[in-house]
Symmetry: C2
Subunit: 251 residues, 2 copies
């Protein structure tokens, strides 16, 4: 089979973003309302075309900034900015009725933002609980939620993104990407509880997370923003892989 560069079918390539955050003890995803057909009026994941001279991750970072005002952090860069990683690529022949589109999905983990969506059109973008978006409220049906599935195959993409986030916080320190730069052990625990949808023992969690080398670095400060006894403040340590890992209960 010779490699014939002149005889290839043309594709459109897009990036779609699964932007997750934790608020009100639940996992939320960013969705935008579609203004044109197909799926006009339906909610969809933010995304757009990759430009002709632009890398895939650059396109994802650009869309992220355009839609949320968030800056993604380079993989090396610590602090400041959301975590961005490639999720998977979706290219079923009929996933877009107009033409052949291959979409490279990216996963973004961001701290809860004071201003919900900066830079975007507030009427056409919102944070929605992933449980609601995926129709898990009740038997898995959409009807009970009076909610309609996301456009295109975005339900599948979102489901894959949520599952990736759930498993990655087990063996990496990525849960800190959902937290502000300084956070308490209790706040980190609520991130795990929201993402996994389980309750964790606060005492064992505290002992485990502070005992894992490189995970947390105390900043010296304390806070009482949760009420109760003042809690020590931490920032993310240098470790990216956790050893031992955080184990998800009930497996």
């Amino acid at each position: 089979m010779p490699y014939d560069p002149s005889a290839f079918p043309p594709f459109a390539v897009t990036v779609d973003l699964v932007v997750l955050t934790v608020r009100k003890d639940a996992l939320y995803a960013l969705v935008v309302r579609r203004g044109e057909p197909p799926y006009q009026g339906r909610w969809a994941l933010p995304g757009g075309f990759v430009r002709g001279d632009e890398g895939l991750e650059a396109a994802a970072a650009r869309e992220l900034t355009e839609e949320t005002g968030l800056r993604s952090q380079a993989l090396e860069d610590q602090d400041a900015g959301a975590h961005l990683e490639q999720l998977a690529t979706y290219g079923a022949p009929q996933r877009d009725p107009r033409m052949r589109v291959v979409s490279v999905a990216y996963l973004v983990l961001a701290p809860d933002l004071p201003s919900p969506i900066a830079g975007g059109d507030a009427r056409s973008a919102r944070w929605a609980p992933t449980d609601t978006l995926l129709g898990a409220g009740d038997g898995g049906g959409w009807e009970a939620e009076q909610q309609v599935p996301l456009a295109f195959d975005h339900d599948e993409i979102l489901r894959d993104g949520v599952e990736r986030a759930r498993s990655k916080i087990e063996y990496s320190s990525l849960a800190t990407a959902f937290c502000p730069p300084e956070f308490t052990v209790g706040e980190l625990r609520r991130v795990y509880e929201a993402v996994w949808g389980v309750a964790l023992d606060p005492r064992n969690f505290h002992r485990k997370v502070t005992g894992t080398p490189g995970f947390l670095v105390p900043t010296g400060g304390t806070t009482t923003r949760q009420g109760g006894r003042p809690a020590q403040l931490f920032r993310a340590g240098g470790a990216t892989l956790l050893n031992p890992p955080m184990l998800r209960p009930e497996v």
Copy 2:
């Protein structure tokens, strides 16, 4: 930013395959020799264009069959056929000097084949140790191996594929994909040792692997193909996720 389907830059979309197998206690990858420029004469990962009416995984399975004669197993299907899963997508603007190409890489785990490459051109395809291909023989340099890097960004893709295989056999039963339909505990252990590049205690490995529910099912037969006391034969059990996982030493 309106969604304008008429104004998208055209891309070529290809699939590239990281086909891994274990032979002679080492991890091998399938590479093909390029017949035309660019990178003429260099080794590359097998792959090709996605057709206009073809899904991505279908394209990967088709290329796999064309290059190796292997059939991939559907995700549901057990037995027979190699494991195939999406790895990642590579789309740097200049990764192909001729045009803009986005390549969706797939990872294939296959048992060692009696006939190295069935169906392909034997002179232009071969199995090569991943260590050699990645220049890990010696300080990471290519010179010592008298070997040249793979074409395009295929070194990066291969490295990602090997790393994915290494981590997936930890918490899934995928190591059995490297084994024939019936295999012994010792053969399975040699797979782990080859993929991870470490030595494992045969006794603890045996106790652990036979004690993990759903991992192995005894077939009743025995074999002495390894010499020594006859070993029980097993086939892969239904479990895909291992609990507890196999832990990679020295982490």
